[in-house]
């Protein structure tokens, strides 16, 4: 079994293929039996330097289901950071109170830095546009659960592929599993060159498309992301392309039976609500899987499993 005890979880790139599979197996165990008091008597410091209600609730649910307690803050306005305390000092202090730290912070690289300052393991709950490894883990869990495997899948990534942190991490994490990628995005929000180079170096096929079309009939997974107006240098360009990246129920007609639609949430309008009732809509179950993935990660770093 991979040795993860007392290790911080900062970046999905820190996980080997074996470690990923081990965490997914653990998450499966927690899904089958979600109330296990493994964290009884432990305190988790939950430090959200920027608000993220969804991620925070998911972590707090995971901790509560494990029988642990939570201390912390849910945005920087209620933390000492507003008084000018450095990140280093906050971490030095909290790591003397808590047995584990879960941290969300707007600065990129803050999680790695916190892990170096902390006396206890740090789980990164998002550091700016950089990493959000527990999101990636729940995405992988959702893919494996719906497809029965991670290998040899046709993965469609749709929307903002330039700034989308989740799609970048997912791409890296899946690279060990022989995927074929399809990128569907507006010209301005295409997958950055560094990721395409990475795929080329690893012999992983990818195709780029300008809009959602029948091509999705080949998909095993369609991973939707938000296309945000403020990402466009020209607002007119946004108006012109925005409807090309909206998934509607009638577009699912020719898709494979095993195909599932994923989305990191929150959704705005990129998935029409008429998709929600389709058996192929998986995004709410995906969010639920986040609790099990986080329970698995917490248990692994605390050496409880």
């Amino acid at each position: 079994m991979p040795q993860m005890k007392n290790r911080s979880l900062v970046s999905i790139n820190d996980f080997s293929k074996e470690e990923i599979l081990h965490i997914l197996d653990l998450a499966e165990e927690f899904e089958a039996n979600p109330n296990q008091k493994l964290l009884e008597g432990k305190v988790v410091g939950s430090l959200f330097f920027e608000p993220s209600t969804r991620t925070r609730l998911s972590f707090e649910t995971a901790i509560n289901r494990l029988g642990g307690r939570v201390v912390g803050f849910s945005d920087s306005a209620s933390s000492s950071a507003t008084k000018g305390e450095s990140l280093k000092d906050t971490i030095q202090m909290v790591s003397r109170y808590a047995d584990l730290i879960v941290m969300r912070h707007p600065l990129e690289g803050s999680a790695r830095y916190a892990s170096e300052q902390s006396l206890v393991p740090v789980i990164n709950a998002g550091d700016g546009a950089n990493q959000h490894p527990t999101q990636t883990m729940l995405d992988l869990y959702s893919i494996r659960k719906t497809q029965g495997k991670l290998d040899d899948l046709n993965i469609f990534l749709v929307g903002d592929l330039k700034y989308g942190r989740t799609v970048h991490s997912l791409l890296m994490a899946l690279s060990d599993f022989n995927p074929t990628f399809h990128f569907v995005s507006p010209e301005e929000l295409r997958m950055p060159r560094e990721y395409k180079l990475f795929l080329e170096e690893h012999g992983i096929p990818y195709y780029e498309h300008g809009e959602l079309s029948e091509i999705i009939d080949e998909a095993d997974i369609i991973y939707m992301t938000r296309v945000q107006k403020e990402r466009f240098s020209d607002p007119m360009e946004y108006e012109r392309v925005k409807n090309a990246y909206v998934l509607k129920r009638n577009m699912l007609k020719g898709t494979k039976d095993n195909m599932r639609v994923l989305h990191p949430l929150p959704r705005v309008n990129e998935i029409h609500t008429d998709v929600d009732a389709s058996p192929k809509a998986y995004y709410f179950d995906q969010a639920r899987n986040g609790v099990f993935a986080r329970m698995a990660l917490i248990a692994a770093v605390m050496g409880l499993k």
Partner: protein, 154 residues
Amino acid sequence: MANSKELKVSAIENGTVIDHIPSENLFKVITILGLDKISTQITFGANLDSKKQGRKAIIKVSEVFFQDHEINKISLVAPHARLNVIKNFEVVEKSDVTIPDTIVGIVKCFNPKCVTNNEAVTTHFSVINKKEVALRCHYCEKITTQEELRFEAS
């Protein structure tokens, strides 16, 4: 020819001569090596003609000898620098600088949202390309390229 281009800075008895520094980076080299904080004699010249590079600078520092890991810190600002170790007015050793595999401090991360640009954190990079310099930030994981290289003020 050679005579007229002879460098007019005094010879040293014991110490180190650092040659082939790009003129525009002379003061960066001085800062990186901490030569502005030592008490032994230093002479330097800039805007000297060079066959290898347009304009070069040279530093002669008495009674100071560098270890590889110290001198390699200047490799990003003076990739072609050459060291001559002087003992009793004789060159006893010549060496070139090499770009190390990791760089701690010296360079700034190009990413304005990186923790190293917002908290008191020493930068730390792994060198992923030595020819066309590319440095991956240990913290934000973004890549700083040759064109984006900026040096920390010290």
